[in-house]
Amino acid sequence: MGPRPRPSPLLPLGALVLFLLAPLVLSGWIVFLLTVAWAKALAVLGVVLLLRGGLLTFGHALYYAAGAYAAGMAVKYLHVREGLALLGLALLAGVGTSALLGLLVARYRGVYFALLNLAFSMVLYGVLLKFYAITGGTDGLGLPAPPLAGLRPVAQSLRLALYDLTLVLAALLIYAAHRFSASPVGYTLRAIRDNEVRVEYMGASVWRTIYVSYVIAGGLASVAGALIGLSVGHITPDLSFWSQSGEFVFVAILGGTGSVLAPVVGSIVFEFVRNYAFELSPYTWQMTLGIVLLVIIFFLPGGLWSLSALARRLPRRGAPPPFRTSPRDGAGAAGARTADQAREPRGGR
């Protein structure tokens, strides 16, 4: 038997094409909402990758803000205008910061990991707030309409260009995250969640695995921050505030951790629910969000993404094959009988 059956790439690619065509029929503000959702999905993806390793962070907005401010400061002080260059600088800043802080943070687990990240993100928040002369304090920094790949889109087409850029970039990074998840390091991360001791007794490094994953998660969030900065045109210290980190965790749980595509689903649903909840009831929209999360936790503990698995699982396999500890028998009779069962696609992932 060859490698495990892989999920077909047709569905995600088809969805991507639909999203690229969507502006033809959707209004401008919905396109903007989708841009924001896709960009933030990258930060959520970072949170999801860490969650797969059993690591919950309440400070991921740190890298989100680091990316946004790297872009903002590059505009203000280095006079970089090109959007793609700003994104590259943001990624560099995110990877650099997470590579540095990861040296410390990757040693911690559980509540210490969560709160250490929170602490660092609030330190950045404080710095962005107080160093007014450099960071603009609460006023933040402006990001003027950027040229993209040397082209200067006019005002109407800029929104569309940023939407397309966000989609393509997010799709590429989500694909990279998918490759990572299926790689030895990606699987080792999931193994760490189950049993760190065994990972070490296999000769693999728990620390290195968590460190690499942490840097990847930081890089993803920094690109998200820069994309948001470019789309909104303005950045403030709130990007690093703890409630932003909380939002990423919220969306991660809303979407689920079952797939690298789940953060996109979660993020889009979140942005729309938040907007409509706000429109319907400006004073209780947070309560609406809370109720949505409660419903998800009670009825779909695997997040929205588990709906897709649910649909696939309906024609499910029967009982597992009988087991005998005598190896030679197992390879013979039981093995032959269950070959068909083993070939059935797994529903759970």
């Binding site: 490759r179 000769g203 197992g330 069962q341 759970g348």
Partner: protein, 247 residues
């Protein structure tokens, strides 16, 4: 000839409890050594010391002549020492084959972030190993679906997949039914002989020790009280009293 494993004067106390005192053990390449002893006699502590999970208060351990002081279980594993556990230590969220593939990936030392874990040489070898242990039918099932006996075998298979020079097994037949234990051991010993893997195994079952080891160490309260052929050692009245509680 240098011993493959040489422990000299190993001492470890947990508070007032003596888990090892002046333990000296020498195991040569190709040996299959059993360790017996009552509960709390320091058998598992010895495995924990030998694999770097615990640091001794005194004494040292040489691996093929190399001092392993200060090395973590990971680095000692990479020196060719693998270990299986009394209670299977597995990745319950992954499939049986994925557990195996992680072992093979770790052995290769190529833990990339781009190429998939499921690659043909590893999946082929992984399935072969699972087949030898009768676990092939469970390859694509979650470890959680594996019965206790199967988990025990997988735990040992993961260690053997690392192709160690020295394998330390903690009660390989615990949790395996009485009628199956000899078959399990026959399979294991076959694989170990074929791979020329030197083995030390902790065992409660005297029948298993008699049948599969040519040398047995008897632990009692952190001391090695006997070392020799099972036939002679296990007939000794003092040994029987220490291990079984009666002569």
């Amino acid at each position: 000839m240098t011993a493959l494993l040489e422990a000299a004067g190993l001492t470890k106390f947990f508070g007032a409890v003596r888990a090892a005192e002046e333990l000296s053990v020498r195991v040569d390449e190709g040996e299959m050594v059993g360790i017996v002893g009552s509960n709390g006699s320091g058998k598992t502590t010895f495995l924990n010391l030998a694999t770097g999970y615990l640091a001794p208060d005194r004494g040292r351990i040489l691996l093929a002549g190399r001092d392993t002081a200060g090395l973590s279980p990971r680095l000692i594993t990479r020196l060719g020492v693998a270990r299986s556990f009394q209670i299977p230590q597995l990745y319950l969220g992954l499939t049986v084959l994925e557990n195996m593939l992680l072992s093979l990936a770790a052995r290769s030392g190529r833990g990339g972030v781009w190429a998939p874990l499921y690659r043909a040489p590893w999946t082929d070898e992984g399935r072969q190993i699972l087949e030898r242990f009768g676990l092939e039918a469970y390859a694509s099932r979650s470890v959680g679906e594996l019965p206790e006996g199967g988990r025990k075998l997988l735990d040992i298979a993961l260690a053997i997949a690392l192709r160690p020079r020295l394998l330390l097994m903690d009660e390989p037949t615990a949790g395996v039914s009485t009628e199956d234990k000899f078959e399990v051991m026959d399979t294991l010993v076959g694989v170990l002989r074929q791979g020329r893997i030197t083995t030390i195994f902790v065992e409660h079952d005297m029948d298993v020790v008699h049948r599969y080891s040519r040398r047995v160490l008897v632990f009692d309260q952190g001391l090695v009280i006997a070392d020799g052929e099972p036939v002679t050692v296990l007939a000794d009245a003092d040994v029987r009293k220490a291990v079984l509680g009666h002569a």
